[in-house]
Symmetry: C2
Subunit: 393 residues, 2 copies
C-alpha cells in the first residue's frame, strides 16, 4: 500500500471537502447553533437542533483547531456552537436536552445520557483551545452528572420496570473509554485511573465474550450473565469495533501492550463477524443466535460503522503490524470510498441499503452530523502519515 | 374477477392455514398467555409477552368465535390469553403494561396507550362470546382510562417538553373509530355518538388535508395547522388506508353515504401516493415534502400495510362499485399473495425489503402477531362472499 498517497487522500478529503461543507452550510447565523439536517447538496431540510450533533460539531471544530491547525474560522465555528449550547442546550443545571427547535426552545427532555457525554468532550476540547476556565467548568460539571447517572441513565424517563430484568448496556462504558482521554486535562489523576480501569473492565471482561467466539455483545444481565432476550442477543459490530480503537489509544497512553493486542484481536473478530459476504459492507445489527432481529434496519450499511472500522483496522496495523488488519483495511477502505463518498456533491452519504445503494440521500440529519466522517478521516490520515514516514516503508 | 373463487381462497387461508398455525404454536401451556415470537417454521424464538399482541390474539380468537363459528377451541384459546392478561397484564388498576417476561413479570411500564385500546377490544369481544359481565367491566374500565388519557397518552413517560411544539397524532382517533364499533354493545348510545363524531372530525377534518392533494398526514399542530417538522411531514400510507375501512364501517352503521364516498376517495389517493412504481408494493413511510425521512425502514414493505389496503379496497368496491378500487385490489392482491404468503410453511412473512425479498423471516415477533393477517383474511373473505352472492355477479 502507498501510505503516503493514502494519507494525502484522507487529509485532502477532510480539509478540502468535508470541513468546508460544514463551515459553509451548517452555521445558523440568525439563531445560532448549527443546522445538521442537510440534504445531498447541503441545503437545510429541517431546522431542529439535536444536542448530540450540536456538541459533536463543537468538538470537531475545536479538536481540529487543537490538533491540526489554529485556524480562526474553526475556533469561531466552535464558539458559535458553544454559545448556543450554553444559552439553550441545558436546563440551567447542565442537564442537556435531547433536542431544541431552531430558536433554541426545548423540544425533548434531557433523557439521553449521550447528550451529556458529547457536551463534555465539546467543552473539554474548547477549554483546551481557548484556555477559558468556564468551558473547563462546564465540562467538569457535566462529567460529574454523568457519573451520578451511571446506574440509571434515563432517570424518570426510563420505561423499564426495575427488578424484572436489569440489563447492563455496553454503550456508556464504551463512550467513557474515549471520554477519559478527551478530558484527561480536566480530571484528577486518581479519578482518571479509576474511570479507565472501570471502563476497561466492563468492555473487556463483561461485554467481550470469549465463550461466544470472542465477540462483543450489547447487553448482559446485571451480574454479567448472558441473557437470551432481544437485547441480550444483540450484536452491533460497528459499535464494538469503534470501542476497540478507544482501547488501543488507552493501551498506547498506559503503555499496556496487552490491551492493544486484545483490541486488535477483537477488531478482527468483529469485522469478520459483521461482514456481508453477499453484498459487501458491515451489517448494522445481528442476533448472536441467528434469530430474527428486532431492528428492521439490521441489514443496512451505515457510514459511522465503516469509518470507525477503518480507524480500528489501520491503528491495529500501525500498533502491531498485523497483516490481517491491513488486508481488512484495504477491503473496508474500498467499500467505504466507493459507496459512501458522494462523487457529485461534497460530504458523504450516511445510509445505504444492504445492496450498497443510497437509501436516504442526506449529508446530515437527526443522527448524522459533523463527527464520524471528519473524525475518521483525521484519525486515518494521521496514522497513515506516520506509517508513510517510517523508515521501513 | 371470480369472487366466489377468491372468497374461498381467503376463507381457506384463514381457517386452514393461519388460525391453525397460531392454535398449534402460540399457546404457552406452562405459564399461560401466548408466545408471539415464532420463526418461519412456527418455533418459539423468544418468550417475552407483549400486551399489544396478547390482547390482539384474545380479540382474534373471540372475534372469530363470535362471527364465524362457535368453535370451543377458539373460545378456549381466547380465555387462555385473557386469564394471563388479567393475572399479569396490568398493575391492578387496569393500567396495561407494554411487555412481560414469559412468567408474567412486568418488563415495560404501561406507557403505551395502544396496550389499553387492544385490551378493550379483546375483553369487549370476549364479553360478547361468553356473556361474562366481568369481561365487559374490564373493557369498560379500560376504555374509561383511555378517555382520561387522550390528552397526554404517555403520561410521565413522555419525553416531549410541553409548550414548545404540541403536536396531535393521528393514531389514537383512528384506532377509536374502530374501537367504537367493537365495543358498541358496552357503551351508552350518547357516549358512542360523541365518540364517533369526535373521531370522524379528527380523521376527516384535521389529518386529511385537501390542500396536500387529499392525503392523510400523521401529525399536525395542536391547532390543526401543518407542521414543517419530521413528525409533521410524515405520511404512513398503510395507516391512513386502514383508517378508511373503519370509516366505511361507520358509514354503513350510521347510514351515511358521504362518509363511505370520502373514505373510498382517500383510500385511492393514498394507495396511489404510497405505491412503489419501481418494485411494487406500498412504502412504509414517506415525507410529504419529499425530504429525507427519519425512519430508516421507510422503503420496506410490511404485511399489515398490504392486508389493510386489501380490506379498504374491496370494501370500497363493495360499497360504491368503484372500478378503480377493484383494479387496485387486484394489483395489491397479486403483490400481497406473491410476496407475503410463505409457500413453504404456514402463516405469512411480515417484513420485506423494498425489492420484495424477505428481510426478517419471522411469522410473529414483537409487533406481528395473530391479528392483521387473520383479520384481513376474514374481512376480505366476507366481502368477497357477499359480492359472489349478488345476483349481478
Amino acid at each position: 500500500m502507498d501510505f503516503k498517497k493514502l494519507s494525502e487522500q484522507y487529509k485532502t478529503e477532510l480539509l478540502e471537502n468535508v470541513m468546508p461543507f460544514w463551515l459553509k452550510n451548517s452555521l445558523d447565523k440568525v439563531y445560532g447553533g448549527y443546522f445538521t439536517c442537510l440534504d445531498q447538496k447541503g441545503e437545510v431540510f429541517d431546522t431542529d437542533k439535536f444536542m448530540w450533533l450540536q456538541a459533536r460539531e463543537v468538538y470537531m471544530f475545536a479538536s481540529l483547531y487543537n490538533k491540526v491547525e489554529q485556524k480562526q474560522e474553526w475556533l469561531d465555528a466552535a464558539e458559535h456552537g458553544a454559545t448556543f449550547l450554553l444559552e439553550h442546550g441545558h436546563d440551567g443545571d447542565f442537564n442537556w436536552y435531547f433536542s431544541l427547535d431552531r430558536k433554541g426552545n426545548p423540544l425533548t427532555q434531557p433523557y439521553n445520557i449521550f447528550s451529556y457525554t458529547f457536551a463534555t468532550i465539546a467543552f473539554g476540547q474548547l477549554s483546551l483551545a481557548t484556555g477559558n476556565p468556564y468551558y473547563a467548568e462546564v465540562a467538569k460539571k457535566t462529567f460529574d452528572i454523568i457519573r451520578a447517572k451511571v446506574d440509571n441513565p434515563k432517570g424518570p424517563w426510563s420505561k423499564i420496570v426495575p427488578g424484572t430484568r436489569d440489563l447492563k448496556n455496553f454503550t456508556l462504558p464504551m463512550i467513557l473509554c474515549n471520554l477519559a482521554l478527551e478530558i484527561e486535562h480536566l480530571l484528577p489523576p486518581a479519578l482518571l485511573d479509576t474511570l479507565i480501569e472501570e471502563c476497561l473492565h466492563e468492555v473487556l471482561h463483561v461485554f467481550y465474550r470469549p465463550e461466544l467466539g470472542g465477540i462483543v455483545i450489547e447487553n448482559v444481565d446485571k451480574d454479567g450473565a448472558l441473557s437470551d432476550t432481544f437485547e441480550g442477543r444483540l450484536v452491533n459490530p460497528g459499535h464494538s469495533i469503534e470501542a476497540m480503537w478507544f482501547i488501543m489509544d488507552l493501551g498506547v497512553r498506559l503503555e499496556r501492550k496487552e490491551l492493544i493486542e486484545k483490541a486488535v484481536e477483537i477488531t478482527l473478530n468483529m469485522v469478520k463477524y459483521g461482514w456481508d459476504h453477499e453484498h459487501g459492507g458491515i451489517f448494522y445489527f445481528l442476533d448472536r443466535l441467528g434469530r430474527p432481529p428486532q431492528q428492521l434496519e439490521w441489514d443496512q450499511k451505515l457510514w459511522w460503522v465503516h469509518v470507525e472500522t477503518l480507524i480500528s483496522l489501520i491503528k491495529g496495523y500501525q500498533l502491531t503490524g498485523s497483516k490481517e488488519c491491513l488486508a481488512w483495511f484495504e477491503r473496508v477502505h474500498d467499500y467505504t470510498w466507493t459507496h459512501f463518498k458522494d462523487t457529485q456533491y461534497p460530504e458523504w452519504f450516511g445510509y445505504l441499503n444492504r445492496q450498497g445503494e443510497v437509501l436516504i440521500p442526506l449529508k446530515g440529519g437527526k443522527w448524522k452530523g459533523c463527527f464520524h466522517i471528519p473524525r475518521g478521516l483525521y484519525q486515518c490520515w494521521k496514522v497513515l502519515e506516520e506509517l508513510a514516514e517510517r523508515p521501513s516503508s
